[in-house]
């Protein structure tokens, strides 16, 4: 399964990368790739995580895990790290694109580094959401749908914020995960302008954005642990 997902990732993002650099006067930038990655991770994160806790419930192995001397937090965090590691490997594979840029052009290293850092943080947030969704049911499809649902909602939240004014609009804007569905827009390359990913794509590493992604990750990991612990209260 991992091989298929990794291949799909490299293939899809490769497509975006090629599209972004194959016109004349194209910039030597990975912005095309980043856009594709950010977009594709919305699908990929639930796919990677949907079975992590759902299958344990379905197979009954969760019963063995929770009756072993391990804390619920260890179980959740362990799975989270495993998923994150897998995405990390996929990102390593994509360094191939960067290599091409260096061979044929003269790219700035700054935006490349910040782009990958942003991607890792973005992955951490999306995977934590997927993991949470997976804990809700023994049915993997539920995990997939809830995960994709939450991710999509957080990605279009800036469209909604236009209806509100004042503080609410600001709050909603700031929850924007970073992907956008105008992926073929050659200006933004599909990275939402009001999202937390935008600066990473430009080469800016902002504490504010880092804080956002880490907070989302922590929030959903805690929620997942609570879901598992709730077994003890019923």
């Amino acid at each position: 399964m991992a091989y298929v997902v990794a291949t799909a990732f490299v293939a899809v993002t490769g497509f975006f990368f090629v599209a972004s650099v194959s016109n004349a006067f194209a910039e030597a930038t990975i912005r095309g790739f980043l856009a594709g990655a950010v977009f594709f991770l919305i699908l990929m994160a639930p796919a990677i995580t949907m079975r992590l806790l759902a299958e344990e419930q379905k197979l009954g192995t969760l019963e063995l895990l929770l009756t072993s001397p391990v804390k619920e937090f260890e179980v959740v965090f362990g799975k989270f790290l495993a998923a994150l590691f897998m995405v990390f490997i996929m990102l390593l594979l994509s360094l191939y694109f960067v290599l091409i840029l260096f061979i044929y052009g003269d790219p700035d290293i700054g935006p490349i580094l910040s782009g990958y850092l942003g991607l890792l943080l973005y992955a951490s947030a999306t995977l934590s959401i997927g993991l949470f969704a997976s804990s809700l049911s023994a049915n993997q499809i539920v995990g997939l749908m809830v995960g994709a649902g939450i991710l999509t909602a957080l990605s279009v939240i800036d469209f909604v914020s236009g209806r509100f004014t004042g503080n609410i609009a600001v709050i909603l804007d700031n929850l924007q995960l970073g992907a956008s569905f105008s992926v073929f827009d050659s200006d933004s390359f599909g990275v939402a302008e009001s999202g937390h990913f935008a600066d990473f794509a430009r080469g800016i590493i902002s504490i504010y954005d880092i804080f956002y992604y880490i907070s989302i990750s922590i929030l959903f990991i805690i929620l997942t642990v609570l879901i598992l612990e709730s077994r003890r209260w019923r």
């Binding site: 197979l59 009954g60 192995t61 969760l62 019963e63 063995l64 895990l65 929770l66 009756t67 072993s68 001397p69 391990v70 804390k71 077994r231 003890r232 209260w233 019923r234």
Partner: protein, 325 residues
């Protein structure tokens, strides 16, 4: 090792376990019997800390399973009813992983792994993917996982369900062997198995414990009559029946029509009978004396206790039967 005090569990409005109290001492092998839906699995899940009780106190090895859950769990080896396994791991990898989450260090795992694989006789399959194993071997992998960390208490929910007859015998022997070194708490609704392995049985029905005793003593208490099988030589059937019927305390005498008795009778040239008498009157001696006095040949005189099936049915289908004291 296991102590349960006034434990109850309700799933919403439905009372699955009602005011259950018992203790399992170190070294005991206790069979937990009950019809389907009686509360066996729920009780076991509460003892292992998977489900919280609605009321009551449960401790394992002195540790409360709710407040000291992690400590309690270290002393337990558990085989759930569904024998959950990761089908895409090999036996060896699975057991190694299980050892790691039980907090075993590498050295200990490396020492125990071959021992355990040997005990459950999975040597030929240690590199096979679990998904490829038959049910019987998967069961053994499950047992292996439960004993790997040398726990004080082994809790097994229906350990021989669904295995073929040959492997059932082997698994039963394995369980008996394990009983020598661990405290065991097994559940089953296969009665011959429980009566073969467990010196003590707890019977649960509709959420309540209805019996807690040694199977033989239980049958004594439940029997309303003492029953004896007897084989006689050189006697006229009617004469024998009349003579025995006249004895004080004898309720009934009849010829034994059971297939195996008749077969044996033909082989040995004897006539088999079954005698029912009032219990605790020493009726066997009286019968023996009578036979000798009349000059008949006594070939066999054996008490027939109530089988565990009969005990089980009596306890679980007769509503008027309360606690046996």
């Amino acid at each position: 090792m296991i102590s349960i005090e006034h434990m109850s569990k309700n799933f919403g409005p439905y009372p699955a376990v009602i005011d259950v109290s018992f203790e399992v001492l170190k070294g005991e092998i206790v069979g937990f019997l009950g019809p389907n839906g009686a509360g066996k699995t729920t009780t076991m899940r509460i003892v292992t800390g998977y489900t919280p009780p609605s009321e009551g106190k449960v401790t394992v090895g002195g540790y409360d399973v709710i407040t000291n859950s992690l400590d309690a769990r270290k002393h337990i080896g558990y085989l759930p009813e569904s024998v959950p396994l990761y089908l895409d791991m090999s036996v060896k990898d699975y057991l190694t992983y299980m050892g790691q989450i039980r907090g075993m260090n590498r050295k200990w795992i490396n020492k125990r792994l071959p021992e355990v694989i040997d005990v459950v006789k999975l040597g030929d399959y240690k590199n096979t993917l679990i998904g490829r194993l038959s049910k019987g071997y998967r069961q053994r992998t499950g047992i292996a996982q439960a004993i790997l960390h040398e726990p004080d208490v082994l809790i097994m929910d229906e350990p021989t369900i669904g295995i073929d007859p040959i492997q059932v015998v082997e698994t039963r022997e394995l369980i008996s062997e394990l009983g020598k070194e661990h405290t065991m708490f097994l559940s089953s609704h296969i009665l011959p198995e429980v009566s073969a392995i467990c010196p003590r049985v707890l019977v649960i029905n509709d959420g309540r414990i209805v019996a807690d005793d040694n199977p033989d003593k239980l049958s004594e208490k439940l029997q309303h009559a003492e029953r004896v099988e007897i084989s006689i030589r050189n006697a006229d059937n009617n004469e024998f029946i009349t003579a025995i019927r006249q004895l004080d305390g004898v309720i009934d005498v009849r010829t034994d029509q059971r297939a195996q008795s008749l077969q044996r009778a033909e082989r040995e040239g004897v006539t088999p009978f079954i005698i029912d008498a009032k219990p605790n009157l020493g009726i066997s001696e009286t019968i023996a004396e009578t036979i000798v006095k009349k000059g008949w040949g006594l070939s066999n005189l054996t008490p027939l206790p109530m089988t565990l099936e009969e005990i089980f049915l009596e306890l679980t289908t007769d509503e008027s039967v309360g606690n046996i004291d």
